[in-house]
Amino acid sequence: MANHQPIPADGLAALADPTRREIFERILDRPQAVGELARELPVSRPAVSQHLKVLKDAGLVADTADGARRIYRADPQGLEALRTYFDGFWNRALVAFKDVAERPSKENR
């Protein structure tokens, strides 16, 4: 009962697919193997493998060997770029916000 989803050719429409996002969110919770993911999701094991390959190509997950199994985990580097970006954005925004909040409001000027 292979259930192959169409896989986008270029790496990053990766999380646009709801099943793939579900897989990714489960991996974020804890690293796990293909079998574990397939057991808990309404998709076949080959389909999970395909999704993992797309996520891996997109730099979102990485895998390591654990005996005969491969354990998939979120790739902190992929996430880190996004976090770093927003961290910088909000830090700068909040400093400017503080400045505005601490001066009298426009209506009172």
Partner: protein, 163 residues
């Protein structure tokens, strides 16, 4: 070392003002503090409007009258809580698929009579699937981060705050 991947960003700042004032500045004077290079209008930014109700929008209005609704208000509880969806892609384009939007929540906690602790959480960043890869290479080593960076700045009187 655990490799827990956190998909949220959190920052906090203390403001020498009551929560009502802080909430108002955040929601009604956004254009005065928002980074003016970060908007997605074609032309110049004239104002930023927060519709003060759940289901309302945050929109930018350009000097030419064009508008861009880039956020949906999720919570509007003055003066303590404000939250909205972030309907912008990592390339600063409008995201029309709600499945791919992240969330920003700001809480305003009194920390004395004229002092408010403002905590911001931007979560579900993983939903910004597209563009992630490009951002990762574009940013390289990334921006200097952390609240420590400007702790000195904020504890002094920043420019414009001197009476």
């Amino acid at each position: 070392m655990t490799q827990t991947a956190d998909t949220a960003v959190r920052c906090e700042i203390v403001v020498e003002a009551p929560a009502e004032r802080a909430f108002h500045a955040f929601t009604h004077e956004m254009v005065d503090w928002w980074d003016p290079t970060h908007h997605i209008l074609e032309g110049e930014l004239a104002e930023m409007v927060v519709e003060p109700r759940v289901g309302g929008h945050i929109f930018d209005r350009g000097v030419d009258g064009s508008e861009c609704r880039w956020a949906t208000v999720i919570a509007y509880d003055p003066p303590h809580r404000f939250a909205f969806s972030w309907n912008i892609t990592t390339e600063w384009k409008l995201e029309t698929d709600p499945e791919k939007t992240s969330e920003v929540e700001i809480t305003f906690m009194e920390d004395g009579p004229d002092r408010t602790r403002v905590a911001l959480e931007h979560r579900h960043l993983e939903r910004h699937g597209d563009g992630w890869e490009g951002m990762s290479s574009a940013l390289g080593s990334g921006w200097p981060t952390g609240l420590e960076r400007f702790a000195g700045y904020v504890s002094g009187s920043g420019p414009g705050t001197a009476a």
